[in-house]
Symmetry: C2
Subunit: 198 residues, 2 copies
């Protein structure tokens, strides 16, 4: 997360994006640094078969889609607003000027990339381990700790739908629903009115 003032100083525009609108497409070239002012954004893939895989969901203050600015590859996933959103958009060259002239911002960015890699490493290992319950718990605990920054003893009300959990873990809705029920029976989470608490 880079300070708003700094972004604006380096030519950032503010984009108003409506819910369910694409911000960039899978396979396109990266030309901007994006950071969310308000709203929520997801990055996703749709595989041949129509199934969605959500690479990540991003919230106010977070940036997304930076890697292809650094390496010459096209976007490995598309980005789409999942609520109405305001988004800072900084041209690539201005972004690099900013990083060069503000090393502390560059270090902040490294933290962001590093923590994203941490998430991917956990989920990769988890997804491969073939245990729906475990995958879901890991996702929830990650969300609780690193996204919501909550302590273990606090109770998180999960705002993800079963479908989103499925798309984040590579499972099907029905499997997620059944796994959540099983987890509830095991006492690992609570379900009240369909909402999950962990």
């Amino acid at each position: 997360m880079i300070e708003a003032n700094l972004l604006l100083q380096y030519n950032a525009e503010i984009l108003n994006v409506e819910k369910d609108t694409s911000i960039f497409d899978y396979g396109s070239k990266a030309q901007f640094y994006f950071q969310i002012k308000s709203g929520e954004v997801k990055m996703n893939n749709i595989n041949r078969g129509g199934k969605e895989f959500i690479q990540g969901i991003f919230y106010a203050g977070q940036s997304f889609g930076e890697p292809p600015l650094f390496v010459d590859v096209s976007y490995p996933a598309g980005a789409e607003a999942i609520t109405d959103a305001e988004i800072y958009r900084l041209p690539k060259s201005d972004f690099f000027n900013l990083l060069q002239q503000h090393p502390e911002a560059h270090f902040k960015l490294s933290e962001v990339l590093a923590s994203r890699l941490y998430y991917k490493a956990i989920m990769a290992s988890e997804i491969s381990s073939q245990d729906p319950e475990h995958r879901i718990i890991r996702l929830l605990d990650y969300t609780k700790k690193y996204i919501q920054k909550m302590e273990t003893y606090e109770t998180l009300q999960v705002d993800l739908t079963r479908q989103q959990i499925a798309d984040l873990t590579g499972l099907r809705v029905e499997t997620v629903i059944r796994a959540c029920k099983a987890l509830e029976k095991m006492g690992k989470l609570k379900i009240r009115k369909g909402k999950i608490f962990r």
Copy 2:
């Protein structure tokens, strides 16, 4: 990849690591920056059930295990030499001094993190898509393009064993073997004396 001279100048030691020796363990704290001088290293997880998941295999010139230097988390996977190896090891504080005093090295590192994220994004989407053949092809093509830096028309002799491919894609050896046979029939790769060519 940071220049050897620079590393040494900032207090790097050279570690001699024997094949199959651990370099750091899952769950431990990151205290060093590691870069391979010679040999090969893998980062992996062993899940309850004994199955291995390989996060990545790293070759001479590459660094590994950097993310936990930037964020306060423990290693999400262990590192182990898969051949005898020489490894530069730079204490965390020296590493940060280096980055601060050599912004171009910091930019290089961002490229590394970015390309690693790119790989993880591809494999995450691929692993979730549930199609062994596709997962394997993606892995091979990634290796060919980004690790071996080969052109499409050239033929790569894959040096990964079926077991390694399985552990990188979250499949079982038998499944990989069968999928490779199927891919050969489809003309997507060649197998000669057990070795895969793509």
